[in-house]
């Protein structure tokens, strides 16, 4: 099954990023394909946190999934974007939703 994710969870929610990463790992272990993770709103800053960034890099390598940061949130917070993250607009999210079998949202 092709799965895409919308991630809006704030870094203030304890262990939430780790749970999302565990979900991705578990989905891949069960043979599913992660197509895209679209980080939106508070999820953008949370994705770039020191504690989660290295594992996102590992997961990107493992899954080949696109890690997209909502352009609006990046511009609003004037964030620098490290690889493998890429800045993208809502069109990319729409495309991923259309092409995926499931779109899973984390808030």
């Amino acid at each position: 099954m092709k799965i895409s994710l919308i991630i809006r969870t704030s870094g203030t929610v304890p262990n939430q990023c780790e749970r999302i990463q565990d979900f991705i790992q578990s989905a891949v272990d069960q043979g599913h394909e992660i197509k895209q993770c679209f980080f939106q709103g508070a999820g953008v800053a949370a994705a770039l946190g020191d504690q989660t960034l290295s594992r996102w890099r590992q997961l990107a390598t493992l899954t080949g999934a696109e890690l997209l940061l909502c352009s609006q949130a990046v511009e609003a917070s004037a964030l620098s974007v490290p690889e493998p993250f890429v800045v993208a607009g809502l069109g990319a999210l729409v495309e991923a939703a259309v092409n995926a079998d499931r779109l899973v949202s984390f808030v």
């Binding site: 919308i6 809006r8 704030s10 203030t12 929610v13 939106q40 709103g41 508070a42 609006q72 607009g89 809502l90 069109g91 999210l93 729409v94 495309e95 939703a97 259309v98 779109l103 949202s105 808030v107």
Partner: protein
Amino acid sequence: MPTGWCLLSNQRSWLITLSGGAAPNTDDSDGVDRTALQAGLDLALAAGAFGQRVTLVFAGSGVGLVTHTTDAEDPLYRLLGSAPFYDIDSVYILDGATPQTAFRNDLHVTAMSHKEWLAAAGEAHVVINY
């Protein structure tokens, strides 16, 4: 093969519900998470712009965007007014509407029961709550 076939093959049905209550951080004095409402509405309009069939439902704190208001200059309220330009001609209000409820007059607003919402969620390809 007709040209339109490719376009239609990428069209999916979306159910986007805007309640503004799911995110833990609220940034408005009345406790409404405006960022969630904004994000959800932006996505609905983007999906409409890309030819998707969007069913847009308002609940909870989002209901204020479809009821009549004297503050028609509110940016979100105005943004929602552009929905017909994105082929979102009807929006829905989940429960809570009474015969006395005055809806905004620039959109076609229809009441939707919880049962109807569940049925719509079962039929939609993409279901997202903001």
